[in-house]
């Protein structure tokens, strides 16, 4: 009898399982996943809206979080550090679940970010770091990026490879994290290469007109200048104009978020090479980190995660149709 009973049981089980498969099984993590986002708020404080990087991050975060029912708010201080500090202060009392902050420099928001974490708000920093580390940092490894740029300049300009060895740097604002950390990386490399001469190291306030005037004077004084590296492609359209007017062959290595304007610039010869930290990728990293925080619910400030963005060195030759991204309406 036993084998028969087993067979009947087996058949019954098989029939049951078949019925279940026909109706579909509910994913056991689904409910908890969607519940984790109900009624959550994410506030975003960039240095200013209105340029490719900050608009791109906002777009990516909105696309990833809003369909889950997360409220996404933007506070735009429009390049005013005081207004930004006020926005964060008022957010601390409004208590959103997450603040995503883009620091204008390494110092200004440091104490506020600590206070926000103490008030039970997760703090995510993007691209420009504060001296105070918070739950998540997403952005380029600027020291490493500086090293890579330094090495690239050595490769292009070293007298061994037929260059003059003379290079110039155009920074943005001297106190911005992007400038401070990158200079460390570049200086480390230049210290190992005495054959490379840094003839000019100036700041242009992220402004194309200032960058142009600086580049024009530097090229004028050093007609055999080999390369200029600038810290932002939007500013370096000015550097490029100065190079074009001088009629000299100067290698322009710039950097940015990989917006379509960078690829256009490579295509029409404005830039020689662009170091790209992919903005949609950074937005996805931030969104994923936020999703993880909402599901794991750690104490704010208890875990510090750093997610460095992969860098891409784009030139006209290795650029592909999908290498850059664009904003809607661009």
């Amino acid at each position: 009898m036993r084998p028969i009973r087993h067979a009947i049981l087996g058949a019954a089980l098989a029939a049951f399982a078949g019925a279940a498969a026909a109706q579909g099984i509910d994913d056991p993590t689904r409910g908890a996943y969607y519940d984790a986002f109900k009624g959550k708020t994410v506030a975003y404080v960039p240095v200013a809206m209105g340029f490719d990087l900050t608009e791109g991050w906002a777009m990516g975060l909105r696309e990833a979080l809003e369909p889950l029912g997360v409220t996404f708010e933007v506070r735009d201080p429009n390049w005013n550090t005081n207004a930004g500090a006020q926005a964060i202060t008022s957010l601390i009392s409004e208590k959103p679940d997450v603040i995503v902050v883009h620091n204008p420099d390494v110092q200004s928001y440091a104490r506020l970010l600590k206070k926000a974490e103490e008030a039970g708000i997760y703090v995510v920093q993007v691209n420009m770091r504060s001296s105070y580390s918070t739950d998540v940092f997403v952005g380029a490894d600027y020291v490493g990026m500086g090293r890579q740029i330094g090495e690239r300049l050595v490769e292009v300009c070293s007298p061994k490879n037929g260059g003059s060895g003379k290079i110039a740097i155009t920074q943005g604002v001297l106190t911005a994290a992007a400038s401070v950390y990158q200079m460390k990386g570049i200086n480390d490399v230049l210290a190992e290469h005495p054959e490379i001469q840094l003839v000019s190291n100036q700041a242009a306030d992220w402004d194309a007109t200032k960058a142009k005037n600086i580049a024009a004077t530097v090229i004028q004084q050093n007609p055999d200048l080999c390369a200029i590296t600038g810290f932002w492609d939007v500013m370096d359209v000015g550097t490029a104009a100065a190079i074009k007017e001088s009629g000299k062959n100067v290698y322009l290595l710039t950097q940015g978020g990989g917006n379509q304007s960078a690829c256009d610039g490579l295509e029409n010869g404005t830039y020689s090479e662009v170091v790209v930290y992919n903005v949609p990728g950074q937005a996805r990293d931030m969104a994923n980190a936020i999703k993880q925080l909402f599901q794991l619910k750690p104490e704010p400030g208890s875990m510090k995660t750093t997610l460095f963005t992969q860098l891409e060195f784009l030139t006209k030759d290795n650029m592909k149709p999908g290498s850059c991204w664009s904003l809607p309406g661009q």
């Binding site: 490719d52 402004d207 194309a208 007109t209 004077t217 104009a241």
Partner: protein, 324 residues
């Protein structure tokens, strides 16, 4: 002191510029070459053009703090329209029309509503920037589209080896000089700036002249904006929030156009612009750090003003009216 007693501020500043030039020429190799000098003037020609606009308003005893914001927004809007498929001439005409309209509103607020110029234009600058960023375009740097490329010649072209912005600076100076010297409106403008009541009694159309002066300033501002956009193939509207407008006022005051109105001319602006140009160029060649550059610039400007105060003490009129 008596020997120098007759020197005007303009001459003092010119003297300083010459001294600096000689100093740099002796110590910096490559400073005193034709190319570098052309580059020097080119780099300050936008500042100079804006200085002429501001100088004109200041001679009329006013001030235009909305100058830079208006320049940035109206030119950016024109670029945006051109990128959106408008023919270039129409885009430029609309941009210029917007600029003139705002200039007219400025003038009307100051002449007819009688709001002090400093407040009317300060508020207007903020309002235009906000209006532009909210209603006209969403990005703060606008690139020049392909159908606007013909404009590039204004900023990047050159004729007989001299860059185009220098020609435009010279042209703006010349036209403004002729306007102030030979037209009735130009003379009225100076009269209004010197003493508004007297000008009114003598029959000058005081209020229309004030409106006119702000419209001219927005017109010249638009030209400066075109040169800016053309020379870097983009317009950065953030300059509206920068300290650029104070640099422009500095050029005007440094050159010796008194803020009490009625004094000075185009030559003063040129001299002020040259001093700033020589300073910036020399410091860039020496690769002095940006923040240190600001300190040196500030100290030299203060020195010029102190020397002027010592050599030309305040007379009763300026003491009564105040500088602004």
């Amino acid at each position: 002191m008596r020997v120098f007693g007759r020197l005007s501020q303009e001459q003092i500043v010119f003297g300083l510029a010459v001294l600096l030039t000689i100093g740099f020429a002796l110590t910096l190799p490559g400073f005193l070459t034709a190319n570098n000098l052309l580059n020097l003037v080119r780099s300050v020609s936008i500042l100079g053009i804006l200085g002429v606009a501001m100088g004109l308003v200041v001679i009329g005893r006013g001030i235009d703090l909305s100058l830079v914001a208006l320049m940035a927004i109206s030119v950016a809007w024109a670029l945006q329209l051109a990128a959106g498929g408008y023919p270039l001439w129409l885009a430029l005409a609309l941009g210029l029309g917007f600029s003139l309209a705002v200039g007219m509103i400025n003038g009307w607020l100051i002449a007819y509503v009688e709001i002090p110029a400093i407040f009317a234009t300060l508020a207007m600058g903020a309002a235009i920037y906000g209006f532009g960023r909210y209603f006209m375009f969403s990005l703060d740097v606008l690139y020049m589209s392909d159908n606007a490329r013909p404009l590039e010649a204004l900023g990047q072209g050159s004729l007989f080896g001299v860059p185009a912005p220098i020609y435009l600076f010279a042209a703006v100076c010349l036209v403004t000089y002729l306007f102030l010297r030979y037209t009735a409106q130009g003379r009225y403008l100076r009269a209004v700036g010197d003493n508004l009541q007297t000008a009114r009694i003598t029959g000058a159309p005081v209020r229309p002249i004030i409106v006119l002066q702000y419209m001219i300033s927005s017109l010249i501002g638009f030209v400066a904006g075109l040169v800016t956009a053309a020379s870097v193939a983009s317009m950065n509207t953030r300059v509206a929030n920068s300290t650029m407008v104070y640099d422009v006022i500095l050029v005007v005051v440094l050159g010796g156009i008194g803020l009490s109105g009625g004094r000075g001319g185009v030559r003063n602006v040129v001299v002020g612009t040259l001093l700033i140009g020589v300073l910036l160029n020399g410091m860039t060649i020496m690769d002095i750090q940006y923040t240190v550059q600001n300190v040196i610039k500030g100290v030299i400007l203060l020195a010029a003003i102190v020397i002027d105060t010592l050599l030309n003490p305040r007379d009763e009129q300026t003491a009564q009216q105040g500088d602004i």
